[in-house]
Amino acid sequence: MDHAVDEARVAAVTRPIRLVGAVLPLCFLALFFCYPLGAILRLSFADGPERLLSALADGYYLQVLGFTLWQATLSTVLTLSVGLPGAYLFARYDFPGKNLLRALAGVPFVMPTVVVAVAFGALLGPQGLVSQALQVVAGPGFTLPRLTGGLGVVLLAHVFYNYTVVLRLVGGFWANLDPRFAQAATMLGAPRWRTALTVTLPLLLPAVGAAALLVFIFTFTSFGVMVILGGPRLSTLEVEIYRQTAQLLRLDVAATLALVQAACTLLLSLVYTGLTAQAAVPLELQPRAATVRRPRGWRARLFVSANILVLALLLGAPLLALALRSVLTPFSEGTYFTLAAYAALSENRTNAAFFVPPTIAIANSLRIAGATTGLALLVGVPTAYMLAHTPTADRRHLSAGRRWATVKWQWAAVLDALFMLPLGTSAATLGLGYLVALSTPELAGLRTSPWLLPLLHTLVALPFVIRALLPTLRARSPSQREVAALLGAAPVVVWLRIELPLIAPALATGAIFAFTVSLGEFGATLLLARPDAPTLPVMIFRFLGQPGALNYGQALALATILMLITTTSFLLLERVRPPGGAF
């Protein structure tokens, strides 16, 4: 049978899909990213580029840029070093409560920073849970040293937030990686470290790189963690942009800094695509059931327990403190258990016009997150295919003489980096861009459209979907598809029965992140959600904006509900499996 004929057949059917795949994402990016960004840049530099040059020459901003890069690098390294063992744990071991634990690890991602600050306070504050527990042991009067911001707290918070990125992106890919590679190396006498360094790590590199890039860009544009947990002395580019826009309305300086930030993101993404595009090799991915095992022997058990302990202390404790505080109300007479805060949520005690019962806020959050997930997959999957299809392996064969192939590869790398850009673009600038773009009479209707928030969230969710899919798409070996095609299966059937089950885990990871990003997004939602249709984080923020035990209690109760909703959604999303069977 002629091999090339089948290749051609598959290509013939997939070409229009690929064409749509190329056009759809680009249209999306142009309409919802480039257009509003262009609008604000045009307005910012209406008086000419003088301020641009003077801001670039300002030593203070160079210093800020330096610090921004430095803390992002540290955060990425730290998150990887805590997250990679976790990824290995979830990829290779089966233990009770595994799914629940993985779902819980994603909860920090949806928590507004001010809630995390309150959670840390409830845990480590002078009257927090730890202090209270220690006072029972060490006697009254014992207090923990005060938590006062600084780089240490920022790094800790960045690990707290981004752990799940490494866990899911690397762990997800690792789970389908054939363990026999490593086993073969060990059989041949390679020590463990050598196997890890020369066999496993290179195979994992695309996924590790993807996670590292996302964590880096996320922490590079860090805002809430920086100003609330880090304290006002630390300043990133994003913080400076916010100050220049919100308080001083110095749009030109803000836009200049936003451009610098975007340029850094673009540059970094280009370097990343250059490095990892060559690392991808076709692999026979394995079903997860074939790669996991129960921990046996004391070493394995110790590894599993140690990892779960880290997870519990780092992620579990602050969240648990928050949940406990929502039912334990401290008054001068002592602490007691009460569900008063939960009960108060559905009562409109002050007869306020904008009162919203929690069920509506939950419904709003889920509706927006659901729409975002749908949109992100709709745009993200074709994008990932378009990017993955550019044959990177070919480049190594052809790079010597075939100029065209190199050009094509560069085009894909630029595109790839371009889709990372929304994540690295200042939220403050983009938000103003939307405002300016939507303040023309023709587009004014979109400002209150129910689609605006899902569209905005999709911009941020898209990089996650693409990064989750690409390592798997690039690693899949063509032989399975070829065999099926050879046996006479129609291309659509091949995709449904062979391809879909293969990429389903990555698809689920992307979907979960799209969902998460939307559920936790706060800045844009606060500005654009209608007062009668707030999301859960917006309502939490409103309660924290007023004094009084009842407001505080209701904020914590809603935060606990948000945690429960998030965990349940993750568990449900993970259960969605294609008809072809679990992989």
Partner: protein
């Protein structure tokens, strides 16, 4: 054939994009000010009003009031300025005296000499051109944690200068004036009090505060809920820059558990700033008449009496009776800082920059 499919798909996409831009306008009520029967009010996050009070206005005029919450006061004003070519609302409410001059200079408002203005105290009418009309006011002041001070054997400070003494080391949390409205108000109060002169200026005071380990928080929510020890968050600091009505709010929102506030006001000279909140009609509205009626409505006794318990500030109409929780627990400060809106506008940016260098950077 396959190109046809591709073309169809592209057309579908464009149709979908176009639809998302236009369809919702007809499906849901939107904020376009051009439509009659609907009045759009742009305001900040803290705006609240009773259902019945708002419904009364809607019934008497036959219009639906749509409220756009646009972040805090500063962000809201910026949005209004940036969208002045095609305003997204008819009325704006919540611009305070720290931003009054910026709003007037940006020329985004229409004048309206509401009849009710005649009955208001003169010192609240800060805009002679009547483009911004006072609706409510409140005082930014330091709150203290009663239990914590008693436990430490301290009495509340009686002057700002006292806060720089060792006994108050590491006890005060303030908000960053660059990102927070009460933070800016407190800074302005200290500038008005200490002045910019060669003797002990506001810079000297803040340098001393910094040396005395003042904690600077990004905004009120974090300062009050996570850092202040007198709130339910039980943070480490017993003094916080908040509002003079916060102790009353603690009682009101205690679910009946508290008979007296757990916190008190430190009403010292130079530590109090009066924030007056204004409303105005946005230039370019097609509903000017309706917007005027809304401003009138905000100055009527029904709305004015509703203000204290909805937003925990004072109504500008002095004839309106205050709720009991206000008369019992909210002390009215005697001497708020004296600074005109013009002085604030002239100094604000430079002061914030100097303060940032002084307290955060050096």
């Amino acid at each position: 054939m396959r190109y046809l499919i591709a073309l169809l798909a592209v057309a579908l996409l464009l149709a979908a994009c176009g639809q998302s831009a236009t369809a919702p306008a007809s499906l849901t009520p939107t904020g376009t000010p051009a439509s009659s029967g609907r009045l759009v009010v742009m305001t900040h996050d803290s705006f609240s009003v009773s259902k019945t009070v708002l419904a009364a206005f809607e019934q008497s005029t036959g219009v639906t009031v749509e409220v756009l919450k646009a972040g805090d006061a500063g962000k809201m004003l910026n949005q209004a300025i940036l969208s002045k070519a095609a305003p997204i609302a008819d009325v704006i409410f919540g611009i305070d005296n720290t931003f009054l001059s910026r709003a007037l200079a940006a020329d985004i408002l229409l004048p309206y000499a509401a009849p009710a203005l005649a009955n208001l105290p003169a010192d609240l009418k800060l805009d002679p051109s009547n483009r911004l009309l006072p609706i409510d006011y409140g005082y930014v002041a330091i709150n203290y944690d009663r239990a914590a001070l008693t436990a430490a054997g301290l009495t509340p400070p009686t002057s700002l200068e006292e806060l720089t003494k060792p006994v108050w080391r590491g006890k005060l949390v303030v908000e960053n004036p660059a990102t927070s409205s009460p933070g800016l108000a407190f800074l302005l109060a200290t500038i008005a009090h200490f002045g910019t002169g060669p003797s002990y200026s506001w810079r000297d005071f803040w340098r001393d505060l910094r040396n005395n380990e003042v904690y600077v928080s990004e905004g009120w929510s974090d300062a009050y809920n996570a850092q202040f020890s007198g709130s339910s968050g039980k943070g480490p600091y017993p003094l916080v820059v908040s509002y003079s009505t916060s102790p009353a709010a603690e009682v009101f929102f205690s679910d009946g558990k508290l008979k007296a506030p757990p916190t008190g006001n430190v009403l010292v000279p130079g530590g109090i700033f009066r924030q007056v909140e204004f409303a105005g009609i946005l230039k370019g509205t097609n509903n000017e008449e309706l917007a005027r009626r809304f401003i009138d409505f905000m100055l009527q006794p029904a709305f004015q009496a509703d203000i204290p318990l909805q937003m925990f500030v004072y109504p500008v109409d002095a004839t309106v009776a205050l709720p009991q929780v206000f008369t019992n627990f909210a002390t009215v400060p005697a001497q708020p800082a004296g600074m005109t809106a013009a002085q604030i506008e002239q100094g604000r940016e430079a002061w914030i920059t100097q303060w940032t260098k002084l307290v955060l950077q050096q």
